[in-house]
Amino acid sequence: MRKLRLASYWASACGGCDVAILDTNEHILDIAAVADIVFWPVAVDFKYSDVEAYDDRSIDVCLFHGAVRNSENEHLARLLRQKSEVLVAFGSCAVSGGIPALANFKRREDILNRVYRESPSTENPESVLPQPHFTAGDITLDLPDFYRRVYALDDIVPVDYYLPGCPPTPERIWEVFEVIVSGQLPPAGSTVGVADHSLCHECSRVKKEKKVKTFYRPHEIIPDRENCLLEQGLICLGPVTRGGCGARCIAANMACRGCYGPMPGIIDQGAKFISTLGSIIDEDRVEDAGAVIDRIVDPAGTFFRFSMAKSLLKGARQP
């Protein structure tokens, strides 16, 4: 059988997805047995010019990690779409913006100022900001354009499959590889490497009644390991999050932040959690319910932790 031509790329990403692929451990040898890697910056030395020279659709499967934050990310998204038969949005950043999309709460100018002018560890006496074009004599250098907000991969190009998680677990990644190798691909547009039930369903904690009188911050409570964290008053996105990770944060006694994305049918994970709160806060009077809500320190940054680029609002209003 012809070997698969496989690419893996990181756009606005941390490299954790790449490491998760390596964390399939000895299965990486099984992957190497059936696939030739034709582009994977973290591991092999192919250049962008190599990819540009490939025939269109000659990459069988491209695993695209990372959000689209700048014009280089967008260029690579378009290039890899053109060169790949199957394009997978791999990891929360590519699927829904992930952690980088928390920047959608901030203005572009404020980000640049903070990073290059105000941060205490930055020395920038001439107060310069990165410029898309720089000229010194007859030398011209270019940098990508830093966009006003972060986009998910499918905001830029059509995507065939979605594999969420920050990062996806090695177990799920290997299952998806097995499906790819079998050639029995699910319908285009499917989310793969996930369960059809919610995270709560695969969480082994005791669930009684989701009724909450107050919310706590971690330093105000020592949560027990047996009972539902949300019922103990810790914000947990389990009810609106898709299962698949094996409830790994819960196993560490930490509440879920929703990296596996919303349950099927939910358009906006954070908004859905807001409506969940409406049903679990155990107060009848509006003022009392409001007082419970006020105990949540950073609702937007918590409920939309991994999904801001795909939320209905996309970001904070920018004057």
Partner: protein, 63 residues
């Protein structure tokens, strides 16, 4: 002036690009190392509760 572009630099975490400029005798005249990426953690952790920061900044580098 001859220009040699290394893009991307590979087998490390993150994005990098190197531009080498050679003069007429083929010696290196100038080298620029560029980091064509920014996410802005320095800004977007502002407003997040301190206990959440370890769950956010772990995504600066996952390698």
């Amino acid at each position: 002036m001859k220009r040699v572009t290394i893009d991307p630099i590979t087998r490390l975490e993150g994005h990098g690009k190197i531009e080498i400029f050679l003069n007429d005798d083929g010696s290196v005249e100038d080298v620029y190392f560029q980091i064509p990426e920014l996410r802005g953690f320095e800004k977007f952790v502002e407003g997040r509760p301190i206990e959440e920061v370890p769950r956010i900044v772990t995504r600066i580098c996952g390698v």
